[in-house]
């Protein structure tokens, strides 16, 4: 009965090709969708332009500080929305079901979305750095610029996992609303809009609970305003990524 063995084998090169093709399609598809790419890139850059550039002196500490916190804010978006909203809509519309029926290599779907989120997050960092280094008058060494790009590209991953988890909780068009309920309060509570020192003591002490707090410590360090060791924040972010990914895959396996 085992006539599976009789079938043409899939050469490893074609398997790799399928992964690449999936990632490419995912990127093209979202870069071409204004309803995704515009809010995700404009939110953080317009805020930075208003609060970091227009309301502050170029080259001030404030514009440097805000470059870090708006980078954190901007990097979270592609992760949460690129993963969460699209997963919720694709579960609803039947695309996920079709992909599961097709011989797509396992993992290509998630990996494709991950690559897309990393690229869009990097794009957001580049836009913010351009604004900061020119209009904001922030000066940074090339090494710090690279550190900022790395923080963006990898820092998006725990938020992909968080978005994915939220995307398993809700189906369809309701997801962006729910994601904003996560996104905006979390940004506020992590000190991305107002420095933590201006928040009540209770909220300050709770800040390390939120993944965005840890990413913000990394971007602050990248602009030279960090304090303390960084490894703990990297580990915290990795921990969030693993936990949310595990929760999300468990729910997806159970619910489809």
């Amino acid at each position: 009965m085992n006539n599976v063995a009789a079938v043409l084998p899939m050469p490893p090169r074609r398997v790799l090709g399928a992964y690449l093709e999936e990632a490419r399609s995912e990127c093209l598809r979202y870069l071409r969708a204004p309803s995704f790419i515009l809010p995700v890139t404009l939110f953080s850059t317009v805020f930075y332009l208003m609060f970091g550039v227009l309301l502050n002196h170029a080259g001030s500490d404030a514009s440097r500080y805000l470059l870090a916190s708006y980078t954190t804010f901007g990097v979270i978006g592609p992760g949460l929305f690129g993963f969460g909203a699209s997963l919720a809509i694709e579960r609803d519309g039947g695309l996920l079901t079709l992909k599961r029926a097709l011989p797509m290599p396992s993992g290509a779907y998630l990996l494709g979305k991950m690559v897309m989120a990393m690229i869009v997050a990097s794009l957001v960092v580049v836009l913010l750095l351009t604004l900061g280094l020119t209009l904001g008058g922030v000066s940074m060494t090339p090494l710090r610029v690279l550190a900022m790009l790395a923080a963006g590209a990898f820092g998006v991953l725990p938020f992909c996992a968080l978005g994915m988890f939220v995307g398993t909780l809700i189906k369809g068009q309701g997801a962006p609303g729910l994601l904003n309920l996560v996104y905006l309060p979390m940004a506020f509570l992590s000190g991305l809009w107002l420095p933590l020192s201006m928040l009540p003591k209770v909220l300050q002490s709770l800040a390390p609970l939120w993944p965005s707090y840890h990413l913000n410590q990394l971007t602050l360090a990248a602009v030279g305003m960090g304090s303390g060791p960084l490894l703990v924040h990297v580990l915290a972010l990795a921990g969030y990524a693993v936990v949310f990914l595990a929760l999300a895959t468990r729910r997806l396996r159970r619910l489809g």
Partner: protein, 305 residues
């Protein structure tokens, strides 16, 4: 049943599947043989799509077993030999038809050339268009192209012609005949009788999660070509069932129900036999009625024991 010794390309064996209190599939047996076009017919909610989902490994049965080329349907090696067109799938609107074809073809070991898939499904002129800008019928054709592009040995088409105009439907039928002639087996679910008549070598009628009848299109047509006579009469239904030309007779309270292929002589004989006969109704049994007649325990000769 000499075809039984060829192993099926896809099979359900005693599959039971419940969603909460609803039993979608009830100990269902189904086998798809290599190269055949099998139509799954049944009213909405009968369990056609659930059967397909079980064959594709999208749902896990609580009892029984689903196999695809003798293996677990969730194994990617088995799925590399199938093509799929689901009843509803919202594909990425901003990707072009060519991009969607390239992506789907990349999942398969030896796909068709892009131009060939496009020509087969009649989407050559749409290749550069974004999927989201296409009409409903065009989108279905693209989904059909995606189902074909991997050069599958088994094609699942779940209600493929819903939303298509007559022209597009007939072209799709022609393509289905072409791929079947090339040796590809097809599982087609439909609630259009004429679609099954036009294409299928074998028809399985499903209702309430069970196989009601299984056979050639002609067998099914014979059971659908019946006429139903209803009237109030106290004639003995057991005796009427033995009349010539009567396929079956039963009683629902005071109502007598007679099914026959030739209504006129039977009506004449009924009127002669019972002068008090009233509320006479003669109706041709449609497909839906054929299904409900099949499910009714008193008329079903095919009823499982």
């Amino acid at each position: 049943m000499n075809t039984l010794d060829t192993p099926p390309v896809a099979a359900l064996a005693g599959v039971t599947l419940r969603y909460g209190a609803v039993t979608a599939l009830d100990r269902l047996d189904l086998a798809v043989r290599p190269g055949e076009l099998l139509a799954l017919l049944g009213p909405n909610g009968a369990g056609k799509s659930t059967s397909v989902a079980a064959l594709l490994g999208l749902v896990r049965p609580q009892a029984g077993q689903a196999t695809l080329f003798g293996a677990d349907p969730q194994r990617v090696e088995a799925r590399r030999r199938i093509g799929v067109m689901l009843q509803s799938a919202v594909l990425p609107a901003t990707l072009t038809v060519a991009e969607l074809l390239r992506l789907t073809a990349s999942y398969y070991p030896a796909p068709r050339a892009l131009a060939e898939s496009a020509a087969l499904a009649d989407v050559t002129d749409l290749l550069k268009r974004p999927y989201g800008k296409l009409s409903g019928g065009q989108q279905r054709r693209v989904q059909f192209a995606l189902a074909l592009c991997g050069q599958p040995e088994l094609l699942f088409l779940d209600e493929p012609t819903v939303g298509m105009d007559i022209d597009a439907r007939e072209r799709l039928w022609a393509t289905m005949r072409t791929v079947v002639a090339q040796g590809c087996a097809v599982v087609l679910t439909t609630h259009y009788l004429e679609e099954a008549e036009a294409l299928a070598q074998r028809v399985v009628v499903i209702d309430r999660g069970r196989v009601l009848t299984e056979g050639s299109v002609d067998d099914l047509r014979a059971s659908v070509a019946l006429t139903r006579i209803r009237c109030i009469s106290d004639l003995d239904e057991v005796a009427i069932a033995r009349w010539s030309g009567v396929a079956g007779a039963s009683r629902e309270g005071s109502r007598l129900i007679v099914t026959t292929a030739a209504a006129e002589p039977v009506v004449r004989r009924l009127l002669d036999a019972d002068s008090a006969l009233s509320e006479l109704e003669v109706r041709r049994a449609g497909l839906a009625e054929a299904f409900s007649a099949l499910t009714r325990p008193d008329t079903a000769t095919q009823e499982a024991a």
